[in-house]
Point group: D2
Chain length 284, copies 4
């Protein structure tokens, strides 16, 4: 039977879905005085129609990881391919920029401005304009979302708090939303890890909501918010506190506490929820 021959061949090849692809690219940054590497997921058919423009998702990694984490540890492509194929997510371009590295004492980490590493400036002034133009993105709030895990979940939240006019939705996975520690080393040294911890403290997403005035709250209500954290995650308290503060400020958000800890199994499953969430909140 011909079908079975094809079957036998397919067993060998294990053909994927009509699949997107991931390309690696570099953006030169004057602000950071360095090149920033990124992975970009391009959906099936990207580039075929010259005029087509896509919604964009920024997918942020965590502390001590880098731009490769979502591709390699998170296996993001199989999830995105599947969800686009079944219509649960629209065709979308996904940017995974570098904002860290494994050696947190000696490598810059973080999405915020800190002395010597003005990443937020870079992100909005250099990075976003360049990649959105290059990769055929619609480029408005209604077609832009941000999501990320841990430090990247905090980054997503704060980016939407400070730029609510730029994103339609925010999905924060096991987010690092605040930091109260004194992060100096045993000998009082202030290394790169010190600075990222201080930056998270200064950009506390929790305090931002607590101190928001009416005008700010009104702007925050234009973003769709989703917080997703494991019941055994060491950052559990922060997501819950966030939900309570948001509710207290009459800003609608979604909260999910699923089974799990601070690991890639949790985030892999989270991505299956996050992409449909972003997708259905894109402008129509």
């Amino acid at each position: 039977m011909k079908k079975t021959v094809i079957a036998a061949l397919s067993l060998l090849l294990c053909l994927p879905l009509a699949a997107g692809r991931i390309v690696t690219d570099t953006v030169k940054s004057k602000i950071l005085s360095s090149d920033v590497v990124l992975n970009v997921y391009l959906p099936d058919g990207f580039g075929r129609n010259e005029a087509q423009r896509y919604p964009a998702i920024y997918l942020l990694h965590g502390l001590s990881d880098d731009y490769r984490a979502w591709r390699d540890k998170g296996q993001m492509q199989t999830v995105v391919d599947e969800l686009i194929s079944s219509g649960e997510c629209v065709s979308v371009v996904i940017f995974m920029p570098n904002a860290g590295g494994p050696d947190t004492h000696n490598t810059w980490n973080g999405y915020f401005n800190m002395p010597g590493w003005n990443y937020e400036d870079f992100f909005f002034q250099e990075f976003m304009p360049e990649v959105e133009k290059k990769y055929k993105v619609v480029g408005d709030k209604e077609h832009r979302a941000v999501m990320g895990l841990s430090m990247g979940g905090g980054g997503s939240t704060v980016y939407c708090q400070r730029h609510p006019d730029l994103f339609s939705s925010c999905y924060a996975m096991s987010p690092w939303l605040d930091n109260e520690s004194n992060s100096v080393g045993p000998g009082g040294e202030k290394d790169k890890r010190y600075y990222v911890c201080e930056a998270v403290k200064e950009h506390s997403a929790l305090r931002f909501v607590e101190q928001a005035d009416d005008e700010t709250k009104a702007k925050l209500r234009t973003v769709k918010w989703f917080f997703d954290c494991g019941d055994d995650d060491f950052l559990f308290d922060q997501s819950v506190k966030m939900h309570q503060l948001m509710r207290g400020a009459w800003i609608h958000d979604e909260l999910r506490i699923r089974n799990g800890v601070h690991n890639w199994e949790y985030w892999h499953q989270a991505l299956r929820l996050a992409l449909p969430f972003a997708s259905r909140n894109f402008g129509k």
Copy 2:
């Protein structure tokens, strides 16, 4: 706040759950005239109590893969750790034996006896006795399950059909249950791929049900069966046919058709269903 310091440290370490571990081992086979490598998942606490015995799961890989596939591509450990931790799966030893390799034309593949590769004999006469003794397994039908993907899903099914006294449950993912093709090469050559295709044909799990007599059917009813296949899997028809044949023979089984194709995303999700299924069907 001390908690946050721990938090900051944990961010760097990304500590897993109370975790099991995977060891690699080798079984010498006279039947196959070769060594067979395997990975073994050992649950947290394994070996701490000398007298404790564990249920066993055999987790089988697919064609052109080997004993490393479930660990590396399937990321099985994070799933098992999580499900044991939440009680959805009991503490269990999981054997992942080698039965294949990437070059299907020149490497033996398959779970059945074929000329020069009597794997089924090896599995039941040499492999199972040795590893169950070494890894402190209870060792009866009530505490033994088998599951696998594609060629390994077919292998699981056929093993349970031919040895229903040995397994309490079978979970077949995207299983390869039959083969009707003439698998000789373009020049009529009979290479290793030819033999595995022929062996699947000879061990057709579909025909086994069709031809089962009453005594055989009675034995098949002592096993819990689960077939799970993607709606866009090229092997879809076989799982459906199996369910129809089982129903026709009044042998109860579960069938699920979920969204997906013949890929690791499907099997990773399947494992989250398969382990609780095996666990709740272990003897009590």
Copy 3:
């Protein structure tokens, strides 16, 4: 604590979500020479803005049920309210027309034309125009979906096959897609049940795909199709056959086989999948 007082009060009241409401209405039909009752789900805020128009879903009941079934047995309102509230379904008007009754021997049942009961004519010529105008529906293919269970799943499928220009999506639950029986009574009598069975046979959704020419297939590809049936449903074979025929005709569809039988628990869960499916396939 004031909050707790509110809590205590709420315990008594069990306040629902920002909720829609269900109204009962009647459409006079010349074609059927009778009045047809329907329930209509109106989302929260309906009517507040005079100019607003809504997408529409037609939600069809099964044989021997009537227009009250989805509201009362299916508990559809809590599902719709929840999914609209969380954004998984857009604000939508849902029509649940009557097409049957409990005494199938003496009450008309069915969505097709049959001698004395030209329901399909009524549906498209009288019913749809009247309710879509009255209930502020957008009224084009891009904003119209149909779904239903059993006889209503078959009705949904056939309506989309015969009117692919009118619906963006079809979600068929445990659908009755064909009938091969001779349905005359023991004494050869042809009662109302005879006619509905004959009508299903004449409108076989399976045969429709088998016999579709290229032009028809092209039109069918403009509809998003979803078939959802329990593994222990007595109509299981029909959904599977449909998927195989659709695939053979290169018409993309989704198929899910979940755990279950032909009952309201299955359809209640199905509705949680069907509404997001219809919603994401509405035009943007």
Copy 4:
């Protein structure tokens, strides 16, 4: 085709699964000086084998509801039948006792002792012994679980806190775990609602954990705990606080925050999680 005739007949009958049944019974209480009504779910096959004994689940209703709520509003039978049929829950007897009524100002409500309504005494001294004997229950901690919603979720939790030797697991849905209000009426009257609010305050499940000594904590660790509450439930804070206190006391529990409010849709879905949880924690 004979199959289709059966199909047509089944369409009319909509036969359920191999189904359990619900019986209504009455227990005479000296302690309460009244009869207490209950519904009992008996699994398929109950009574067929005289010697068989079953695990037992106590399924508790909420404030202003009564013993009929889980059967009628919660549609519990279809869920239980399905989960037993698929093996996700073992065959089990489920008791749904009356502990309230719709008029909370004039009808006794609550699972605790209060002046004139010593329900906890009744439950453990009269009710449990009588029904467990009559309905062939194993009758030990390893085969007994308790679960409930709102006031019944609080009741479940407190019963397990005060009788950890009697239950293997507790699943609390949207639980009412504490009360800080002054519940006297506007004119200072102390009606039946006043007493239930006071009783919840006195039996605060949160304070119980806060004040637990080491011996008590050790006992609490012998119970499996699950808290499940909607993100938009007005009692959200209590479930989260409970999880934080349990974690602080090193007592392992599961917490899930799913989408939803304080309604039957939430509890119907919760039951699908609660029964497998209880089942897998029954002794083996």
